[in-house]
């Protein structure tokens, strides 16, 4: 497979340079902290802070989720690599306003180990109160009884959005932790991929897949899914993906199955080179099936928000809404990754 040509400078510096660019995208709203972190400029005193983070290369997340009514800061790793503990510490110090910091990030071994080490430094050396909520929305990465083995994928965007709004109201770290945990518990995703992204430093794809196959249940770095199926149409694939999510709500004892009248947030994510056109075509079918199941779509998100370079593929995420989550959703927000006005479409 030939190397992909990317518009970059030094292939080993892409993570540093993209964070520098991201700071410019915020045009003064965010500051560049330490090695490779971002923090909102004006975090109110005493705010319970929300810190996100993870490997770079998935832009616009995670670091694009810093913003108004969203995350207060992000600790950014190198391409597909969790941020080292020092960076986590720097970001933690930058967002801390004396009322605790919630870490909210995807459940990957590298992230857990590095954020934990960062938290130890922050707690032991700086006396900062840190709590962690892991994102594990990928239902294909382990059964509901083994959520600790699940990956965090595109569902992180609604989850961070909801937690970001919650963090504006939260009086204590406990309150924010509870809200973030609820957003996680209520959000489930399934991803598929048709072709890999590549690592800028090597130009090599992160995995291999036959030209005429779709990887069902794949992760956002190209981690293996549950099976490979023959390439098919949007209308055939959509119910397969939705059924995996529906089934997870049924099988998981921690949450009730989706039933008639339930309200959901629905998110179609592109993993990179899959076009908005394709996302919209899948959305069309998905909406039909959600409606047929009696679900009410509270709001819709669509776009390439959680990507893996030029990887082709999509994911669906469903967040089961309740009054609390709806209130968080309705808050406006503004960031490089995701912005909205007050309310919801059609509301």
């Amino acid at each position: 497979m030939s190397s992909i040509r990317k518009l970059i400078n030094d292939p080993l510096k892409v993570a540093d340079e993209l964070v520098e660019g991201l700071v410019e995208a915020y045009n003064g709203e965010c500051v560049h902290v330490g090695q490779r972190s971002l923090a909102l400029k004006n975090i109110p005193d005493n705010k319970v802070a929300l810190l996100v983070g993870g490997g770079s290369g998935h832009e616009p997340i995670y670091h694009g989720l810093v913003g108004r009514n969203l995350a207060d800061g992000a600790a950014c790793g190198d391409i597909f690599a969790a941020p080292p503990p020092d960076i986590v510490l720097e970001a933690t110090q930058a967002v801390n306003r004396g009322n605790g910091v919630l870490y909210l990030y995807g459940n990957y071994a590298g992230d857990v180990m590095n954020f934990d080490m960062g938290a130890e430094l922050a707690e032991d050396d700086e006396g900062i109160d840190v709590r962690t909520v892991l994102i594990w929305d990928d239902v294909c990465s382990a059964p509901p009884t083994q959520k600790h083995k699940r990956r965090g994928i595109a569902g992180l965007v609604p989850i961070v959005k909801l937690a970001g709004a919650a963090s504006q109201e939260a009086k204590t770290l406990n309150e924010l932790e509870a809200a973030a945990k609820k957003a996680v518990l209520h959000t489930r995703s399934v991803g598929v991929s048709m072709s890999p992204g590549s690592i800028p430093a090597t130009g090599k794809p992160t995995f291999e897949i036959d030209e005429d196959k779709i990887g069902l249940g794949m992760g956002i770095h190209g981690e293996p899914g549950v099976s490979e199926i023959p390439m098919t149409t949007a209308d055939e694939l959509t119910p397969m993906m939705l059924d995996l999510i529906f089934k997870d709500f049924e099988d998981d004892e921690e949450i009730e199955a989706l039933k008639e009248g339930d309200e959901v947030l629905f998110f179609v994510n592109s993993l990179g080179s899959t076009t908005m056109m394709e996302c919209l075509i899948a959305l069309r079918k998905a909406k039909e099936l959600l409606t047929a199941k009696g679900l009410k779509v509270y709001d819709v998100m669509v776009g390439p928000l959680v990507t893996c370079q030029e990887m082709a593929g999509i994911s669906f995420s469903i967040t089961k809404m309740d009054d609390e989550l709806k209130r968080y959703w309705d808050a406006p927000c503004q960031s490089v990754c995701f912005s909205k006005m007050e309310g919801r479409y059609g509301g």
């Binding site: 080993l12 969790a82 080292p84 590298g110």
Partner: protein, 211 residues
């Protein structure tokens, strides 16, 4: 000519050789990670070892335990990712356990590897059989304890073979954690990328000792 013990300067020289070897092995390591993970293991190790070399430029004259620890700190703060944490911990915990030892022989090799393996297993929660670098590191540590009364050349030979055998054995394992766990049986047949790194690290230490 094999070396019977290493002093701090030699440990430092050995670590530079380890770093160079890992940097040179980037394509093999990335390829191994492409099979089971996200294909960046070699890149991360290369980044970490470049940082380690830069750090080793400033550690001349420090005790040998510090030499190992410096490599660990440099890796930990430059790499990130799973391997930044585990390989950083390997060198840092291993080096710390050496205290102010001023010569590195077979007993110190055992002390280093046992503390390294314990540290990694505590940090990441992986046990032998989970198909991680632990499957090369833990057998190497166990072997080192077993042969700690032998000469350094004999000990490191045996330990490098154990690491190599552990790496090879990881091929036959089913991943139960990490990125590869969703592969289930399909993860069988490829060695774990981190285990390959461990076998290269210990193999290069052997090559240095054997001269």
């Amino acid at each position: 000519m094999p070396k019977e013990t290493l002093n701090a300067a030699e440990v430092r020289e050995m670590l530079i050789q380890v770093a160079d070897k890992i940097i040179e092995s980037e394509p093999i390591l990335s390829e191994a990670d492409r099979k089971l993970g996200d294909g960046d293991h070699g890149i991360g190790m290369e980044r970490g070892m470049n940082a380690a070399k830069a750090k080793l430029d400033t550690t001349e004259g420090e005790p040998l335990g510090k030499q190992f620890m410096s490599v660990g700190m440099a890796m930990m703060s430059s790499m990130g990712g799973a391997s930044g944490a585990v390989f950083g911990t390997l060198f840092r915990n291993g080096g710390k356990a050496l205290g102010d030892a001023d010569s590195f022989g077979a007993p110190e090799l055992a002390t280093f590897l046992t503390a390294a393996a314990d540290g990694v297993m505590t940090r990441g929660g992986a046990k032998p059989g989970d198909k991680t670098m632990v499957d090369a590191l833990k057998p190497a540590a166990d072997k080192a304890e077993e042969v700690k009364d032998a000469s350094l050349p004999d000990a490191i030979q045996a330990v490098a073979e154990a690491a190599e055998a552990g790496k090879d054995a990881s091929s036959a394992m089913r991943a139960t954690m990490g990125r590869a766990h969703t592969l289930g049986d399909r993860s069988i047949g490829h060695p774990d990328a981190g285990a390959v790194s461990v076998s290269i690290i210990i193999g290069t230490m052997r090559d240095y000792v054997m001269g």
